[in-house]
Amino acid sequence: MKHGMSVIVQSIARLMVPFIWMFGIYIIAHGHISPGGGFAGGVFLAGGFILITLAFGSAPDKEERSQDFASKLESEALLIFLIMASIGLVLKLGLMANLLAKTHPGLPGHIAAGGLIPWENLAIGVEVSAALAVMFIAFARHRLKE
């Protein structure tokens, strides 16, 4: 893990990762109108991160910091999702009530639709990618210790 892989892998990774991330963001952004969504897109985002780490390697102290960061990011994204879900609760409309859908319905099938759902998808996407990154770093760090 310290040294990374050969120059071929590094070049391909450099070429591929922007597209992988772009695709992940696309999946997250279109989660409310097509198959996919926060989880699937988040997996793509984390996959790009894993590819970079595998290709270029990383230092142990950096891994520890990024694990802490990802762990916090995961909790914060979920907390934001929870806050969005409980807005309806505070306004006596019930848990996960979709407020924006009433005031800003948008066009069906268009990306600006679904009220709160795209935003919730975004939070879930960040949460999932951070969670997968935590899992990957945790396993990778354990390997380093031996």
């Binding site: 097509s34 198959p35 989880f39 699937a40 069906p108 099938g109 899992m135 945790a138 396993f139 354990h142």
Partner: protein, 113 residues
């Protein structure tokens, strides 16, 4: 019907692996196979002959020819749960390996029944 039978057989294979194998990774694989069989079964439950993706747009709003979306949502959730359990099991087997230097259950089981 053949497809249903195949998922049942896959499920049985996973169950067999979990109950008879004595190697931690193989047990985890058995669980993953069971889970996959279950996901396939759920997808089959929602399948309709010649069905299309269940998305209502201006062009296609005939719900009669769409596959059932609920099992697909269930499968997605089940996959997420399966990811978490598998990762946890693997993390535990890593730790057990660090303690015993082996993954063979016959060598590490020192707990009494």
């Amino acid at each position: 019907m053949t497809l249903y039978l195949l998922t049942f057989i896959l499920f049985a294979v996973g169950l067999y692996g979990v109950w008879t194998k004595r190697h931690l990774i193989r047990i985890i694989l058995g669980l993953v196979i069971m889970e996959t069989a279950m996901n396939l079964f759920l997808i089959l439950v929602g399948y309709r002959e010649d069905g299309v993706a269940p998305i209502i747009t201006e062009n296609s709003s005939n719900t009669a020819v769409m596959v059932d979306p609920i099992p697909q949502a269930l499968v997605l959730t089940a996959i997420v749960i399966g990811l978490a359990t598998t990762a946890l099991l693997l993390a535990f087997s890593v730790r057990i390996y660090a303690k015993y230097q082996t993954l063979d259950l016959n060598k590490i089981r020192n707990l009494r029944g």
